[in-house]
Symmetry: none
Subunit: 412 residues, 2 copies
């Protein structure tokens, strides 16, 4: 079930028009059909049901039957990229999610503050899960002591708690390649590892990573909370066509969580940075309404709480999140977008308390979507919909663009 | 939804038998399910309905979800070729459609007679849309003055009105490659462009094209209607396996329009050249009946008027064309073909007045087709059919051949 490569297929067909697409990703939306009702089945969502009646329905697969997608691959598939072709480093996503741009010559790292003993063995991989505000002075110290290493600039960007992103800035002399293994030994009681380059081109980045680890130990020497750093997810930017290049869409991302902003940023979308990490769905729709006045034709709105509830095994709370979204839906529809998609990046069934491989329900409403005419939006209704129970997620963006009149004919 | 490559899959399995397949393409057959009935839904077609009751039904996708096929890609998919792998030049289709063979070493060009002013700027890209009979003496003049240029033979074949096909005949010394840009500046008031080769191998064809343009201006100098030519769609024959090689079918094409003959000719089918461009469906069935006495086992019958009506936004006229076809269907069935396929090369919904991405209805009747047992032939019935709403068009020829007993087992 491999899909065609959207970058090479869509780029020559995409055309700029005034129509607008709202693309709503409810994280982990899907459940598993079984004895217990899913969150979609147990919640009351009249506005979603009414929208479903005007929509074509289906359940989508992001990677392949039986494969449970992470959030990254799930989103890439929804935006039309084949997740099997894309290996995205966690360092890159962390940096992008913190609002730090990473260029094609740069390498990004996801770091932990940590603690080591006198023998150099790691005693705490997360520096006692230090609070964000207590970590701030430690990061200040680090930032003050590190500028360039091995001929390239190195930046430290604090994240939540013990987490940070480091960006190694490639330059004309040293374009960096980031195929480098973690220095994190993964278990406590072992020494920090030397950075191992997996290919010759990545040797320079490995040397910078080792120098960064050593310099951090000098700077933090004697620190009680943290006296070293672990470097993980060392990675460069993959050479992919950006979303604007592929689709000609002028896109904006409304998401509270850094990882999803990171995905959108990597693809070249504009990010609404003023969405707080604590933003409610209503807050996000406020931002959507404001952004409606701007020159965008694609609005990616991300709802996180469905997934968090599913991960906690709390199907009832997940149902409440769906109901909270449903209450906001009329505000979105009042904007009169030409096309609305409501989908998920993977399923997170409460009874499984984690991501799963089950195809994720979606609806697509547009002027030519061939509505199925059902009266509900849940896994069973979507299985029975036009796009069936195994629709390749990579096709969604094509259908959305086609309905919005944004794709020219293929071939004469 | 990428399908296996039929050329490599089918060629070793295809076997010659006496059974016969009638493969009817109603151009742009499909509509869009919505508020208005589609042409299939609003027309009365008792014979199609009766055939549908004995058939397996579905709607087929020619390229991918959301992608609107041109007629070329749509037909290639129906004949089992992946349209994503095939780039077919317009010059090639024009020449083939006029009945001119183009070999693997040749390059074909779609030309316009045009008019230029004293400064060499194009004043009329279509020579006043000169009538075919008025263009005839101009083409005679051209043909008389051009024989070989830059070491290869050059032929001029008149088309309708100002159009012609030029074929540059490669030879043992000069095998030609046709990756050459148009000399047509696309707008009036600008000079004719030099032929630009996109790769080194195409340099010779570009030189011939330039020589052809220059020689045409010498021959036509002072001409009132036309005094120059524009060269477009310069292209060679793609290196594909022919239809007879892939399927072992002895095929004939019954089509009134040059473009569809061009597609069939490129694939190596026999063309029934005596079908007039004004032929009715009944006229085409006359030719089918005559051809039935010959040694063919695959009959491609093309109906154009469904698409034309859809393009004009006239769903009522499209319905009438379907009814006109339905009246002829008993004559086709009276021939007792082993397998009948009725399909479209894409959808052309009247309300959209153009090609669309919506999957196109088809039926397949054969001795082992697992009939769905429905009682109608339209988009809704086909969605509900055995092959569902998203059947890959490239699979149709496999099913037709299988039902006709023309495919051996794959593997031991």
């Amino acid at each position: 079930m491999r899909e065609p490569s959207n970058p090479s297929l869509l780029a020559p067909l995409a055309r700029k028009t005034g129509s607008r697409i709202v693309f709503i990703v409810m994280d982990g939306l899907g459940g598993v059909i079984g004895d217990e009702p899913t969150a979609l089945q147990r919640s009351t969502h009249p506005h979603l049901d009414a929208l479903a009646a005007e929509s074509a329905l289906g359940r989508c697969l992001h990677v392949a039957d039986g494969i449970t997608p992470g959030s990254g691959p799930g989103h890439f598939a929804l935006f039309g990229y084949d997740p099997l072709d894309l290996e995205i480093g966690r360092g890159l996503l962390e940096a992008l999610g913190l609002g730090v741009d990473v260029g094609s010559e740069d390498v990004a790292i996801r770091g932990n503050l940590c603690h080591i003993d006198a023998d150099g063995n790691v005693t705490d991989r997360r520096a006692g899960r230090v609070a964000t505000e207590d970590a701030a002075p430690i990061f200040k110290q680090l930032q003050g002591g590190i500028a360039d290493l091995e001929g390239v600039d190195v930046e430290i960007h604090p994240g939540l708690q013990y987490r940070f992103a480091a960006v190694l800035r490639g330059n004309d002399l040293h374009g960096l390649v980031g195929n480098v293994d973690d220095t994190d030994p993964q278990v406590e009681g072992k020494p920090i590892l030397a950075a191992h380059a997996r290919d010759a081109a990545s040797g320079h980045a490995a040397r910078v990573a080792d120098a960064l680890g050593a310099r951090a130990q000098e700077i933090l020497a004697g620190g009680e909370i943290a006296n070293a750093v672990l470097l993980r997810g060392i990675s460069g930017r993959p050479p992919i066509m950006t979303y604007p290049e592929m689709t000609r869409l002028t896109s904006c991302c409304i998401a509270a969580y850094p990882a999803y902003r990171g995905v959108a940023r990597m693809l070249g979308m504009d990010i609404k940075w003023d969405v707080a990490s604590t933003a409610s769905i209503a807050d996000e729709v406020d931002v959507l309404e404001q952004a409606w006045g701007e020159d965008y034709d694609f609005f990616f709105l991300h709802v996180k709480a469905t997934d968090s509830a599913g991960e906690d095994g709390d199907e009832e709370r997940k149902a409440k999140v769906i109901e909270a979204f449903d209450e906001q839906l009329p505000r979105i529809r009042a904007l009169e977008p030409d096309v609305i998609v409501v989908c998920g990046d993977h399923s997170t069934p409460g009874p499984m308390a984690g991501h799963s491989w089950h195809a994720s329900p979606f609806l697509l409403q547009g002027p030519w979507s061939e509505a199925d005419g059902g009266t509900s939006f849940d896994e069973v209704a979507c299985d029975a919909g036009r796009f069936g129970g195994r629709f390749p997620a990579m096709g969604l963006i094509r259908l959305a663009m086609a309905n919005a009149g944004k794709l020219a004919k293929f071939g004469a």
